[in-house]
Amino acid sequence: MEKEEVESFYKALRDTHLSTMETLVKECIGKGASPMIILNEGLIGAMAIVGQEFKACQVWVPEVLLAARNMNRGIEILKPELLREKLPSKGTFVIGTVEGDIHDIGKNLVTMMMTGAGYTVIDLGINVPKDRFLEVIPKEQPDLVGLSALLTTTMLKMKDVIRAIRQSVSNPPKIIVGGAPVTQTFADEIEADGYAEDAVRAMELANRLLSRGG
């Protein structure tokens, strides 16, 4: 995709009107662009720019939320095209905010990014007890599990969840963690398979962890 085209996706992500994104995606489809390219280079490529701007404090959470909303609308329009191409799911991702924690903005952003990137996402919501993860994982056989926490107290629960999953699930999935107080050091301490500081990086991390050499 040309730089200019990515730019127009970026503008559509930042636009307060959903119709800008709707028109753009429809136009691209109309011109015969590959849905995968629209998704990966247009929507996700532009979202990565928003992610970088957020990291550099050039935009704030409302702008990221707006971009995620607009991206989702773009994906909705693109979905029938993607299905027509019969693209296989990139993998199954189970995500939840750990028990005792009711914050979900970050988790929701990760859910949106992962859905957009082609994963089948099972969102268990907020305040998810350990046992709920243990119930869902054997049933759904996810490739990846994401744990989120915003509180210093609840992030400690992640350790219990990780240990429980590895003890009770044969062939356990990879587990990634995130949330405002979480750091790479903490993730290493609790033996998570990965840590990402924002939703765009979470998606990139997922792609890296699950790339099985073709």
Binding site: T16, W60, V61, P62, E63, L65, L66, R69, G100, I102, I105, N108, L151, T152, T153, A180, P181
Partner: protein, 348 residues
Amino acid sequence: MRMESGLRSTPKRRFLSGLLGGRKGNRICVANPTSIVSVELMEKTGVYFPEAHLDPLKMSQLAASGCEILGFDSIMPEFSVQQEAEALGCVVDWGSPTMMPDAKTHPVKEVEDLTIPDNILEKPSMAVVLRALEILSRTYGDRAAIVGKVMGPWTISYHLCGVQDFLIWTLTEPEKVKELLRQLKEVSITFANAQFRAGADAVVIADHATGDLVSPKAYQDFLLPVHQEMNRRIGGPTILHLCGNCSDRLRLFVEAGFDAYHFEWQVEAKMAVQEVNHEMSLIGNIANKNVLFGGTPEDVYKQARYSIQAGVDILAPECAVPLQTPLANLKAIVEAAKEGYGAQGLQP
């Protein structure tokens, strides 16, 4: 008995002096604009969440333990951020001893969905705070500073509309956001003034347009005029509580007319003191995560001494403390304060 530095040796004098930028006295005040309740404190008093959010006597007993057991100079009885939300129609899950309350429904999608009841002060979740303040004022008014707390219109909007929707509206429907803030500020003003009548010495206004979520410009455009009006119409001293790294907007809080700002460790204390230039007092800023919750009493002591030396006006945890915070760490704040200002701190 020797009176140290005369007049300012009682908790209330220390608090008022620190809050309004007055004489420094023999040592800094230790106060809590936000909750210092921990599981250990609940066990010691036999009063637990969620009952303490909804029963005035229990609320006042648990709040007073901060002064009785920990030695803080203030007593602040509102532990949750949901008292107004329930009165305005949110369904609130009042939580448990290890979980803070949370609004389960967000009934306002349009301005027309918002109804502010005429008798809002009589709604149980708000009346309980007024009754608790009356009890505390009667019982501890001669010993401690009694601090009230209200949610500002931004925070109430989060509960009523949902955080995500409300933040997106700041971009897509700014007029709607302004109208919600305009109407909801009346709740904050009414509640704050009622708290003063019930015996509060100061009222905290918690309005979570936090530094990590929104830009200084968003504060300036949406909240600054609202906060200015609130400070004109609230009859007693106000303390702004607004978390996150707000280093880039301290002057806006001065402009808003607050008597004090309750701030986080992320905001460097020395810089903050310089920036606000005694035009507003600073209350803070012992870090919750690594120090009060995750550190030792020695870590707390070091950070408290740093804040004192930096020239902070009142010493306090940076935000509501995690419920599992050890009591010894909270007591260490008071111990650090008792050592006075030290040579550097005596400089003007």
